[in-house]
């Protein structure tokens, strides 16, 4: 490659946070017309590097060169003016504004000193056509799905005359079709000579899209690889710096043949969300739920736990028919639920680890039967040790922990209630590979000890590796059931896709 193809160079970047060196002498190089994946575990420094490039964080040392000139972005707007455009992981748009306005706000075309609304609406509609999104752009953004919102935020980012486009986990809320459409757009932009930095947890997407990969670990640069020079397993081991066999040497929990029935769902549903779901689960069984995002996996779990009220069908738990109207009812029936959105539905940020752990148990005991401080401490210490939660003491705020450790605290909260049935909704999403393996091992251990687990995940290999049986969901209905043993990813995908083909015929 010739030197003039390099569009962006970052050299010797150092960022010091109180107590830790977030980045230590990291180099990064982006060429014109390439998709460059930035990889690493959580806390490896990817986000920090991006924030440094977009002017959110100030760097303590190092230089950034854009097209041969040194730059020092001071804020996102400044970075944008320089030609660095970013799509952040969380959708950063205003739901109260129209779709069109979201794309153009801050740089509206003006006519005679006034905002030219016609032009805004026309150009937005055109722009979204490129993504095959056909919607009324004058409607408020809040009326559209997360996927469309994500598309709109990408449209906003690419419409500015950018030289460098940063995509931070853009696919986490998209389904397969939408991911493909995004990839088409990315290919277009690449062909036009834009340099794209692509951050994602999905390794398949990394291998599908990227030309090169830069791997970070603990704030250090580990290596830069060309696509095709490295296998997936090698890449993972570079990212986590651990032996692979140790991580993936997990055995499915053995299912006892004479185990009693734990749960039987009979045609349960909430009209408009999920309908007509029937399945049963034995004691000590790990039941996987697979399916695309929005296929009804989470909705089913929320229904069993009473987060949304079940309207049709019956639920039999441990041989008794039960009525579950709210989470408390489920907890009283020894069900526990780790929700998908950890930040929104899981952690109580400003409370300590101890309080976060004892909360569910206390809720079940009722307000008038408080646990003594001694009991709380004992409980917290027990789980911190058992789950190897990395913290100096139990009184640290949960907010200050890493994602993986937060997930462990939530898990501890529910294990403390000693449930018979544990529902885990995407327990491994957004946490690093090491913590992921630990959580999987823990699930299998609990099953071995007789707990039943419902395990929801987007990652098929994870589901196949852990589940005794797998239920496949599609469009708010149950698409089918598979045995965990001997099931392949292709089987599951066929079940999703095959049904789809049958319907259109």
């Amino acid at each position: 490659m010739l030197d003039h193809d390099v569009i962006l160079t970052m050299k010797g970047i150092e960022i010091q946070f109180p107590g830790v060196k977030a980045l230590d002498g990291v180099d990064f190089e982006l060429r014109r017309g390439e998709v460059h994946a930035l990889l690493g575990e959580n806390g490896a420094g990817k986000s920090t590097l991006i924030k440094c490039l977009t002017g959110v964080n100030k760097m303590d040392a190092g230089t950034i060169m854009l097209e041969g000139r040194e730059i020092r972005p001071t804020n996102p707007q400044n970075a944008m003016d320089l030609g660095i455009s970013t799509v952040f992981q969380e959708i950063n748009l205003c739901e109260n504004l129209s779709v069109a306005e979201n794309i153009f706000i801050g740089r509206q075309p003006m006519k005679r000193g006034q905002i030219d609304w016609k032009e805004i609406n026309r150009r937005s509609a055109e722009l979204l056509e490129r993504f095959h999104v056909h919607i009324d752009v004058t409607r408020p953004l809040s009326q559209f799905s997360t996927a469309i919102q994500q598309m709109v935020s990408i449209a906003r980012a690419v419409d500015v005359d950018a030289k460098v486009l940063i995509l931070d986990e853009p696919t986490s809320s998209l389904d397969n079709d939408e991911v493909q459409r995004l990839f088409d757009v990315m290919r277009d932009l690449r062909a036009q000579g834009m340099g794209i930095i692509f951050i994602t947890h999905f390794l398949d997407q990394v291998f599908e899209m990227s030309d090169r990969m830069t791997v970070l670990r603990n704030g250090h640069l580990v290596g830069v690889f060309n696509a095709g020079e490295i296998t997936k397993l090698e890449l993972v081991s570079t990212m986590i710096g651990k032996d692979l066999d140790e991580i993936f040497d997990l055995k499915r929990a053995e299912q006892k043949a004479d185990a009693g029935q734990m749960l039987k769902a009979d045609h349960i549903g909430v009209p408009g969300k999920v309908e007509d779901i029937s399945f049963s689960q034995k004691k000590g069984e790990l039941l996987g739920f697979a399916g695309l995002l929005g296929s009804g996996r989470t909705e089913t779990a929320e229904m069993i736990f009473g987060v949304t009220r079940m309207q049709n069908g019956t639920l039999v738990i441990d041989g008794r028919e039960v009525k579950i109207n709210e989470p408390m009812d489920a907890i009283n029936n020894k069900i526990a639920f780790c929700p998908e959105d950890r930040k929104r539905d899981g952690i109580i940020g400003d409370l300590s680890i101890r309080e976060n752990i004892y909360l569910a148990l206390q809720a079940r005991r009722g307000m008038l039967h408080p646990m003594s401080r001694k009991e709380q401490d004992a409980l917290a210490d027990k789980f911190i040790k058992m789950l190897a939660i990395a913290t100096p003491d139990a009184d640290k705020k949960i907010r200050e922990l890493s994602g993986g450790n937060q997930q462990k605290v939530i898990l501890a909260r529910w294990m403390a209630t000693e449930p018979d049935l544990l529902i885990l909704d995407e327990p491994t999403r957004g946490i690093d590979v090491g913590a992921k393996a630990e959580i999987q091992r823990l699930m299998l251990e609990m099953c071995q000890n007789g707990m039943s687990i419902i395990f929801i995940s987007s990652e098929l290999d994870e589901i196949i590796r852990c589940s005794n049986r797998i239920i496949v969901m599609r469009d708010g209905k149950k698409a089918g059931e598979l045995n965990g043993e001997g099931c392949t990813q292709a089987d599951i995908m066929q079940m999703i896709a095959g049904e789809k083909a049958g319907e259109t015929a």
């Binding site: 905002i115 009326q143 799905s145």
Partner: protein, 354 residues
Amino acid sequence: MSSVDKKRSNKLVNFITNPKYLMVLATIGIFCAIYLVGAVLYGDKGFTKLRTFAMLFVDNAYIGISAVGMTMVLITGGIDLSVAAVASLTGMFIAYGTTVLHIDPVVCMAFSILVGVLLGLGMGALVTYLKIPPFVATLTGMFFARGVCSLISRDSISIDNELIDAMAGWKVYFMTLKDGEWVKIKPVAYINLNVVLFIVMIIIGTIILQKTRFGRNVYAIGGNEQSARLMGLPVDRTKMMVYGFNGFCSALAGIAYALYVKSGWNLALQGGELDVISAAVIGGVLLSGGVGYMIGTFFGVLLKAVIPSLITFNGTLSSWWGKIITGALVLLFVALQQFVMTGSGRKKKSTKQK
């Protein structure tokens, strides 16, 4: 041809069902309904006369002027509890300045507006840079303004100044052509300087909010401040300007009030901030920010004004019912907002893209 018609009617349906406009339409609808009720019940007593309608404006113009600034603050997701106190302070400045110190009223007014803007900017700085909840920051401003007002004088001072008298006395009468001659209609109906100020401010407010980047930034901040920041919008500057503008509106409202009652008093407009806020809420401005229109606020002020007017025409009801009905109206509108907002939220989940 028909396809054009269809397109047009589609547009109309879109317009009406768009939750953004629904609240404003509801306000206008309820105002018309209440006005009609009044017309049917008290038409014979003169409720439908132009005079009654014009007096709605004359008696409430100062609330409306302040509501223009408040609307903008509410759209950013903030709130300002200091408006009535600042207006009362302005009235005190003018009364004390002209009548006791014999300073030129123009200087007094300019000084009041300067103080209003500075107070607004000060509170804006607390909110913007020190991240103090607007409720607390403006509460401080309210205490401060009321306190300073009492320090100046504890007694009501009536204004004795020619220019102020002239401004307060300026009226435009509604005329009618009778026997080839323009005569005042009967009963006499007029609008005054305050009403003109009110309407001009509503127009200026509308232009700012709908036609300038600054105005759109105000909406964006109210929708999601974090996002607005990451989209590169000048959040801090915008918020400062909004609070500054609101300070300006409060001072202007104070001037209007001084013209209306021709006196300054430290306890004037006690609880007036609630009148202003409830007028905006009744006008469809969302307290959580991001939604609201000046025209909605305009009708909110009128709707709030027409209730005491109705009670006066009734003659037997205690005037305190006015407060209770206003409370009930606020409840109605908040409930409506809740319904519209969650309604559109529910829609969001089902409109999965195909």
